[in-house]
């Protein structure tokens, strides 16, 4: 469908400000993934005496509003102290663009997250799973959205419906199996019983989310498997990850190689060892 983007969104999409990477960046924040369809990398340069963001650049893979949100974000944070920058809400990012269509509010949330990540990176804080422990377990497995993130966004934006939550976080926008849970969270907010809701937090599951699993598999393939194949003038291409089923395509010298069976069982073993013993690897024919 065609979106009713404001002139400001169009302006920041067609002529984005501050595109690129700061070579001498003091902090880098990377959020989203290619699997989800949008990803943003924010680099910042810091005036260390005043704890002020001197300069900012972005690179974004995503739709018009994702690019526009990234662009306006860099403009909004330049010259601001960390404290002031961190006060910027996703609503303010959207507001600075003259508003975003409701279905696109998650783009502004992504901008806000990239900013937090970049500042955390500068401060030397980790934003890995450890840090997010207090954010609770995963509610939406399709997009890897935690209960903590949903609660935070619901509270900050005063959300009332599942549709709102999907628009702001993507949660519930895939298979839809978590909609009941989102409704439960929303009901708690409308009943305004935050103490009670705290008690319902379940212990964090060590299980990987779909998103974490996808990232981990990509990382292993890119860093540990492909460099070895490339030495023999071969390579592989990740075709799909559907739950625990990974499909790849062998290319170059690897395609049709007589040792291909050995190679793929080695890759499968590696994925089973690091990611999940239940991983299955399927090799798709080249050109198929």
């Amino acid at each position: 469908m065609a979106w009713n983007y404001t002139d400001l969104v169009k302006q920041h999409f067609f002529q984005p400000k501050n595109v690129g990477v700061l070579n001498d960046a003091d902090g880098t924040g990377k959020v989203g993934s290619i699997a989800c369809g949008d990803a943003l990398m924010l680099t910042i340069k810091v005036d260390k005496e005043n704890n002020t963001i001197e300069d900012a650049r972005f690179q974004t893979f995503g739709c018009g509003s994702a690019i526009a949100s990234s662009s306006i974000l860099t403009e909004m944070i330049k010259g601001k102290t960390f404290n002031d920058a961190l006060k910027i809400t996703n609503q303010e990012i959207a507001g600075a663009l003259g508003g975003l269509p409701p279905e696109k509010m998650h783009c502004s949330v992504m901008g806000r997250e990239a900013l937090e990540a970049a500042i955390a990176d500068y401060r030397g804080e980790t934003t890995g799973p450890e840090e997010e422990e207090d954010e609770g377990r995963i509610v939406c497995n399709c997009f890897g959205i935690t209960e903590g993130k949903i609660r935070k966004v619901v509270e900050e934006n005063n959300l009332r419906t599942v549709e709102d939550v999907t628009n702001y976080t993507k949660a519930g926008g895939g298979c839809g199996s978590c909609i009941d849970e989102i409704e439960t969270i929303l009901e708690e907010f409308s009943e305004a019983k935050p103490e009670q809701s705290q008690k319902q937090h379940k212990p964090k599951s060590p299980k990987l989310t779909n998103l974490q699993r996808i990232s981990l598999i990509q990382e292993i393939l890119d860093n540990e498997v492909r460099p070895i194949l490339q030495k023999d003038n071969g390579d592989l291409e990740l075709v799909d990850i559907d739950g625990l089923a990974v499909s790849i395509r062998m290319v170059g010298q690897c395609s049709g190689c007589r040792a291909a069976g050995l190679t793929t069982s080695w890759i499968e073993d590696k994925l089973k060892e690091i990611v999940d013993p239940a991983i299955t690897l399927d090799v798709v024919e080249e050109g198929a």
């Binding site: 469908m1 999409f13 290619i34 369809g37 990803a39 893979f61 739709c63 018009g64 798709v284 024919e285």
Partner: protein, 384 residues
């Protein structure tokens, strides 16, 4: 700015001759075809003429094999419900993973009603395997529903052969032929296709009219219950201007079929070749088994909605299978079923051409697109 419309698998411009044919039925001849007076009777005659035109263009043996509906989706729903309703002792439906939502959403709904649905996979080129269909068939299959051509990739499916396989096991066969009408001739004479759906607005008639072919002798259960219209097969006062328009459009589409296969195909091929010459692109779909006007190309590491917005600013209309354009937050089910990798699936563009498109329009796209891709790759954080 002139609009360059290359999104004809989504909808088409109404042909001026179609407008001319339907106008009198919006203005002068407003009678109800069910009325006893001649004023209404004349309108009924116009519907019968349209029925003959549609039957003839599809190669149906008899005009009564055509039932007019409100759209392709209604035709699909009617066909599938009718087939299952008339094969009550069978509990399976076989379809494909890449059907139009008009079929897929219904299939998922039927699963909740207790039907067992098998979704045939497609290979990397978007082709279905008849061997797999054969393997899946048993005496519990009531219906096989397979589209005649895929709307996103244009890949053509072997529906006559699939119909024969269905019949060998006593099942009925339905095909959603919304995309093939006027582009690819299907053989209804062979008797392998029991039910076939078409839609008016894909063939230069207006929106709001469709038709269902029901092979003579095939049991039928109406979907919309009401009056005796369409010989009791579809209740509801007929959309007379729409039906007259569909008749005329069907006649025109048959007349233009050769042009689709030659001139339109050549335009598409030229566009495709030139776009695929850009680095990091891929063609989605079997190059040799496609609708003549459709091409689906992915551009690595750029996102489809951003691409469409930039094209739109140049007046170029196309579509994409990216998550942000699918309305579901996930990329196209068709590209995913084909195993197109994520960094290509999000950056897909579909151009669908038709008989009104020109060389100049294709030239404009060939000129406009490369700088857009280059710019979006500059902005993108994924580089390889």
């Amino acid at each position: 700015m002139r609009t360059i419309y290359l999104d004809n698998n989504a909808t088409t411009a109404v042909d001026p001759q179609v407008v001319e044919a339907m106008m009198p039925f919006l203005v002068e001849y407003y009678g109800n075809p069910s009325s006893m007076h001649e004023f209404g009777g004349n309108v009924a005659n116009a519907i019968e003429k349209a029925r003959e035109q549609v039957a003839s263009s599809l190669g149906a043996t008899h005009p009564t094999e055509i039932v007019f509906t409100s759209c392709g989706t209604e035709s699909d729903n009617t066909a599938i419900r009718s087939a299952l309703g008339s094969r009550k002792n069978r509990h399976r439906l076989i379809t494909t993973r890449v059907e139009h939502p008009a079929v897929l959403t219904l299939a998922r709904h039927l699963e909740r009603d207790g039907y067992k649905v098998t979704y045939l996979p497609v290979d990397g080129d978007g082709n279905v395997s008849l061997d797999l269909l054969e393997e899946e068939m048993d005496e519990d299959v009531a219906l096989v529903s397979m589209m005649a051509a895929n709307n996103e990739t244009g890949v053509i499916f072997p529906v006559e052969k699939a119909g024969r396989i269905a019949h060998e096991h006593g099942a009925l066969f339905h095909t959603d032929a919304v995309q093939t009408m006027g582009k690819v001739a299907l053989d209804l004479g062979g008797g392998n296709i029991d039910l076939l759906s078409i839609s008016g607005h894909k063939v230069h008639a207006p929106k709001g009219v469709g038709a269902l072919y029901v092979r003579r002798g095939c049991r039928f259960r109406p979907f919309l219950l009401g009056g005796h219209q369409e010989r009791g097969r579809r209740g509801g006062t007929e959309n007379v201007p729409g039906i007259v328009a569909l008749g005329k459009a069907a006649q025109l589409s048959q007349a233009h079929m050769d042009e689709e296969g030659t001139r339109v195909r050549a335009l598409r091929d030229r566009l495709e070749k030139s776009l695929l010459a850009m680095p990091d692109t891929r063609l989605n779909g079997d190059v040799d088994r496609r609708l003549p006007g459709t091409t689906n190309i992915s551009f690595k590491n750029v996102e489809g909605e951003a691409l469409l917005l930039m094209l739109d600013r140049k007046g170029i209309c196309a579509s994409s299978g990216s998550a942000c354009t699918s309305g579901t937050l996930e990329p196209s089910h068709v590209l995913r079923a084909m195993g197109v990798p994520f960094h290509f699936a999000h950056g897909s563009l579909r151009f669908s051409l038709c008989r009104v498109n020109t060389d100049e329009e294709v030239d404009s796209v060939i000129e406009a697109l490369p700088p857009i891709i280059e710019r979006l790759r500059e902005i993108s954080l994924f580089k390889d």
